[in-house]
Symmetry: C2
């Protein structure tokens, strides 16, 4: 779907210490020294990070909470806890969504469709994730010290808030594609990167077909959190199917240095959001990239279904960022 | 927000045995004899109910899955499991949302805004809930036989699918209001009805103000699952604030007979959806009601946050059904 009226007004990015110590640390608005930074629980720390990201975006966008038509957001916690509990401070219309690590794509796409068609004037889209809340949620509390499998990724700690509106600015959302659920019968919850690659490729193909474009129409194609393993599958899928591209990378592979202890890279909704709206967005403001396709990727696994030996359905939601001439 | 182009094309409703044995049982398309009905787990049974509801709606709407532009849905399971796992069978663009028991309002409202503004032509909106999956999720497995508190409600077992499109039909969605998260510092997870009533009232007031209407502009105002306790608080709030109305009721109080063992009534996303799109919708087709405001209500509680002594944020999303003359 092509868009003409949706612009990025401001972004707010907060992150944990590992994300700050990675190669992109300087691009984020704020970081915290540890997982608690003074809060009684990991969950409350995650909400504080989210509040800070939203405050940064509002301040940079010269807006108050009351100026925002609709907030849209989500996270990895059961019952979308961090988002729903933080939303009580807005006192504004709120839509909670769940796309696992593809949540930023889902909220950006929903908000963009509503703004494009003048249903609303602006929206605050946000996501957050916290390594310790996600590990406990999906696997084991980090205090157990469970040995991590080689194929695993590391859930990024951070929060991102993006204000979209219909007033022209330097960067716009110029197209989007809502993903389909793809399940290739992969059932290993410790290897989500390889499970998600076919969903990312499906969305890429549908996107290019819908807009009658080539992969080379983008300066950069960026997947969300496919891990080093998933990234190589994505490359293979593009090569085998003759999808050409100028540059391809994965946010999970960009967020950390190779000598950081993150196994196959970063993951979590904040991973792709930090890289796209922290790092890439600032590169675009400096005209380093003109058009970038961000394909956020989500493994929709549930520990309950994994225990029942079910496979892992995956989804990918894509949006295209473009520098306004 | 007022709408002019959104119509209910077809509905599909499936339910458990208690819901079938209640006063509205005859209005639902299909029911099942027990919680498993041949499936290995409660979760797989919940997904089968959802698939059946979607099939009923598609059949009645004379549509195939491929004719649907976007599916939107959600449920109570962690990681919105039933919806995400069922979505792999559609192979269509899918947006998963979480509004707890207010999820039907959230998906109906989102789809309506997209259809109203010609962003899409049609959508399949769905929710489901299963008593046994929800009890295990939020409280204890039903096999434990934990004594239920008097203030509790009973999560309804059922699934509802509603196809909306822009072709005129007998009943339309003529207005909607997206809710705000309201938290009145109630922290008892066994009394969600009373926690949610202020959110329902907040949405009602915002809806009437936005559209410059009175409560009496509706033949019926219907809240989602406030329980007998929450319903009386809702009535008090309307009376104290001089909000007049023709008829007011709560879906949770309508779904079961008073002699059924459901404590203070029904709850869960399928509760308000079954009553609104099973029972009320068919009454509207017979012109028993002309305009009905459905205020779906959701307690956004999380067991993790309840264990941390946090209060329960609540939300209510409203939409108005109207008979087309």
């Amino acid at each position: 779907m092509q868009l003409n009226n949706v612009y990025v007004r401001a972004t707010g990015t907060t992150c944990g210490i590992d994300e700050f110590n990675g190669p992109l640390g300087q691009y984020f608005d704020r970081h915290y020294p540890d997982f608690h930074f003074g809060h009684k629980s990991y969950e409350l720390a995650e909400m504080a990070m989210l509040q800070d990201a939203i405050s940064h975006a509002l301040k940079k966008g010269k807006l108050k909470k009351d100026d925002i038509n609709v907030f849209l957001g989500g996270d990895l916690n059961n019952q979308v806890t961090a988002s729903n509990y933080t939303a009580k401070d807005f006192q504004r219309p709120f839509m909670a969504m769940y796309g696992a690590c593809a949540t930023m794509g889902l909220v950006i796409n929903t908000a963009s469709m509503l703004i494009e068609n003048h249903c609303i004037h602006n929206a605050n889209c946000f996501v957050c994730s916290h390594n310790a809340t996600a590990e406990r949620q999906f696997r084991y509390p980090i205090e157990y010290g469970v040995q991590r499998k080689e194929t695993m990724t590391t859930t990024a700690t951070g929060a991102v808030s993006v204000i979209l509106d219909n007033n022209p600015s330097a960067v716009r959302i110029e197209a989007l594609t809502i993903g389909r659920v793809i399940d290739m019968n992969q059932s290993d919850p410790n290897d989500m990167g390889r499970a998600m690659a076919p969903a990312a490729f499906d969305t890429l193909v549908n996107h290019l077909k819908d807009l009658n474009r080539q992969g080379t129409d983008y300066d950069l194609i960026l997947t969300g959190d496919l891990s080093t393993y998933g990234k190589s599958i994505m490359k293979e899928l593009m090569n085998e199917n003759s999808v050409t591209y100028n540059e391809y990378d994965d946010c999970g592979c960009l967020l950390y240095d190779s000598d950081q202890d993150v196994n196959q890279g970063g993951s979590g909704p904040s991973c792709s959001a930090l890289v796209a709206f922290g790092y890439i967005y600032q590169k675009m403001l400096k005209h380093k990239y003109k058009r970038v396709l961000v394909i956020t990727t989500g493994a929709l696994l549930s520990p309950v279904m994994t225990n029942q030996k079910q496979s892992i359905p995956c989804i990918a939601h894509a949006f295209s960022l473009e520098v306004v001439e």
